[in-house]
């Protein structure tokens, strides 16, 4: 299937490669936040993780990356955050090369908390690394913890928390710097179904309230359809975008949405798109 780019639009850069003034972009249309064109990633061992990746993400979107294991979802996310360099093509985040914008929150599959630090100190970390003193950070850290419903656990250690609570701390940590872009790499894959759907709702609420752009990696069709405004379906070997399926703008979505015919139909469409990527590929899920 050919890559379809619904939101194809001109680059915000002029011919000289200088950045256009982003303050001019305050029109009705949401400005572009992430632009990837013809992006390749070849690892040192010769693995082609991603080839010819094209993607445009506008501010305020909730985009899911959906695809089988090994199709380069994590790689794509890490390239956007600047943790991995790309081998070819172009990536811009807010008009800058990746890694220059500190305005990014990142949530890993595991909660990835520091076991030796309290909940407060874990959430304080990004601010501490920026040189913010503890008293100055107090308000922001507590607000971030409150936004994920964890107000009374400042002095707890990660080992005292359940899996879902640890993930909440991890989200609070990503949010404490008040980023505009939140990257989440299969954040709830290890959680039980109940916790997972509750956190899904919380992330959606956070997205709306904070006016975030979210890129959410998952291999669950249901999760991607429930959450996102657009599902980006990826295929493996080499990793690439094979389909983009826009979702209805029927936010705020509640648990009820999961029971509607529209939801079932969307899941069916996305499932089918995913199925088509898996010809001749082992299905692990």
């Amino acid at each position: 299937m050919k890559s379809t780019n619904f939101l194809c639009r001109g680059s915000t850069r002029n011919l000289h490669g200088d950045d256009m003034n982003t303050e001019n972009n305050s029109g009705v249309e949401a400005p572009i936040q992430i632009e990837m064109s013809g992006v390749d990633k070849v690892f040192g061992n010769g693995t082609i993780a991603v080839r010819g990746l094209n993607l445009t993400v506008q501010q305020g979107e909730f985009v899911s990356f959906l695809g089988p294991s090994g199709c380069g979802k994590s790689t794509a996310l890490k390239m956007i955050s600047g943790l991995l360099s790309h081998s070819a093509g172009e990536i811009t985040v807010n008009g800058h090369p990746p890694g220059q914008s500190q305005d990014i929150g990142y949530v890993f599959q595991e909660a990835t908390l520091m076991p030796w630090a309290t909940v407060f100190d874990n959430v304080y970390l990004p601010l501490r690394l920026k040189g913010v003193s503890r008293p100055d950070a107090q308000v922001d850290v507590e607000a971030a913890l409150a936004s994920v419903g964890l107000s009374k656990f400042n002095d707890s250690y990660p080992r005292e928390l359940s899996g879902g609570m640890k993930m909440r701390v991890s989200i609070a940590r990503a949010m404490v710097t008040k980023p505009k872009l939140l990257l989440m790499d299969e954040p709830f894959a290890a959680l039980d179904e109940m916790t997972r759907s509750r956190l899904n709702n919380d992330v959606m609420a956070l997205w709306k309230k904070r006016d975030l752009t979210v890129i959410f990696v998952t291999h669950s069709v249901f999760e991607s359809v429930y959450l996102s405004s657009r599902v980006v379906v990826m295929a493996a070997r080499p990793g690439r975008v094979v389909n983009e399926i826009a979702q209805h703008d029927n936010y705020p979505r509640t648990e009820q949405y999961r029971t509607t015919a529209a939801y079932a139909e969307n899941c069916r469409v996305v499932s089918q798109a995913l199925e088509e990527t898996m010809d001749h590929v082992d299905i692990n899920h």
Binding site: Q102, F108, T112, L129, Y157, R159
Partner: protein
């Protein structure tokens, strides 16, 4: 109707659990002490009953008497051994942590220097000690080097492994938030390495004492201001067996104290978070 937390005797389950835990803790202390005391009593009784001469096996009471009569000379020797052990341990920590940090930062340095560290570790100290005693004119320094060799390696290798053990996602996060090298060390690498370091310290503390004693055995009673090992040697030449036992007893006490201190330190540093030091409630 709610489920009752009170059993027929009227004592709440919680209270009984707490009492049980206290009792458990008491038993943990009382049982080993009682066992030890009865073993000593048995020893005393058997020596008395069979009229074993004290130059073969002295009774505990006789060893205690020797401890008292020879108190000051034994304390002097003990102080010497303590000094030797602590100084070598301190040097092992300084050297091991410094080199371990360099190893963790540079593969090249590690690959080139690691063989030397291994050779130092696997060659028995007893075998190298005579050489060191020849080349280093000051006996104290020679002994110090021997004890240091014993304690150095565990600290070195654990520091190097520990500093590398930091979670790779956390490393990525520190990169993303642009942590300075110092911040990375302070907030990520050192805490990650601490459990490894504490485990090594427990081992190195014991090894430093062994090194100090063994080296002194090899050196013999050459120096005048000498440690417990020399007292043991000297007493064996003079067949003063009770004195030998008394010195031996003090070496054991020293070892136990080092073990207790390092264990306490480990608990104090890791107790609030690391698996190895957390008491699980059952």
């Amino acid at each position: 109707m709610s489920i009752s937390t009170t059993d027929p005797t009227g004592i709440s389950i919680e209270k009984r659990m707490r009492r049980h835990a206290q009792f458990d803790r008491l038993l943990r202390l009382v049982i080993p002490v009682l066992t030890l005391l009865s073993a000593v009593a048995m020893w005393e009784f058997l020596v008395w009953y069979h009229e074993v001469p004290h130059y073969l096996i002295p009774a505990p009471s006789r060893i205690a008497a020797t401890l008292i009569t020879d108190w000051w000379s034994l304390m002097g020797s003990m102080w010497f051994t303590v000094k030797l052990t602590l100084m070598s341990l301190a040097l092992a920590i300084i050297g091991g942590v410094a080199l371990g940090t360099v190893f963790a930062m540079s593969r090249v340095v590690e690959i080139s220097l690691f063989p030397f560290a291994v050779i130092l570790q696997v060659t028995p100290v007893v075998a190298i000690a005579p050489l060191i005693l020849i080349y280093v004119p000051n006996t104290f320094y020679a002994l110090l080097i021997c004890a240091w060799i014993m304690a150095f390696f565990p600290i070195l290798s654990s520091t190097a492994i520990g500093l590398r053990s930091a979670d790779h996602n956390l490393r990525d996060m520190f990169t993303m938030y642009r942590a300075s090298p110092w911040q990375r060390l302070r907030y990520l690498l050192i805490p990650s390495a601490l459990p490894y370091f504490m485990a090594a310290l427990k081992i190195a503390g014991g090894l430093a004492l062994i090194g100090a004693v063994v080296a002194e055995f090899v050196a013999g009673t050459a120096g005048q201001n000498t440690g417990l090992a020399s007292r043991i040697l000297e007493s064996s030449f003079r067949s003063e067996i009770p004195r030998m036992f008394a010195a031996l007893f003090l070496v054991s006490v020293l070892g136990i104290i080092i073990f207790l201190i390092t264990s306490w330190l480990s608990k104090a540093v890791l107790g609030h978070w690391h698996e190895s030091e957390i008491k699980r409630e059952r």
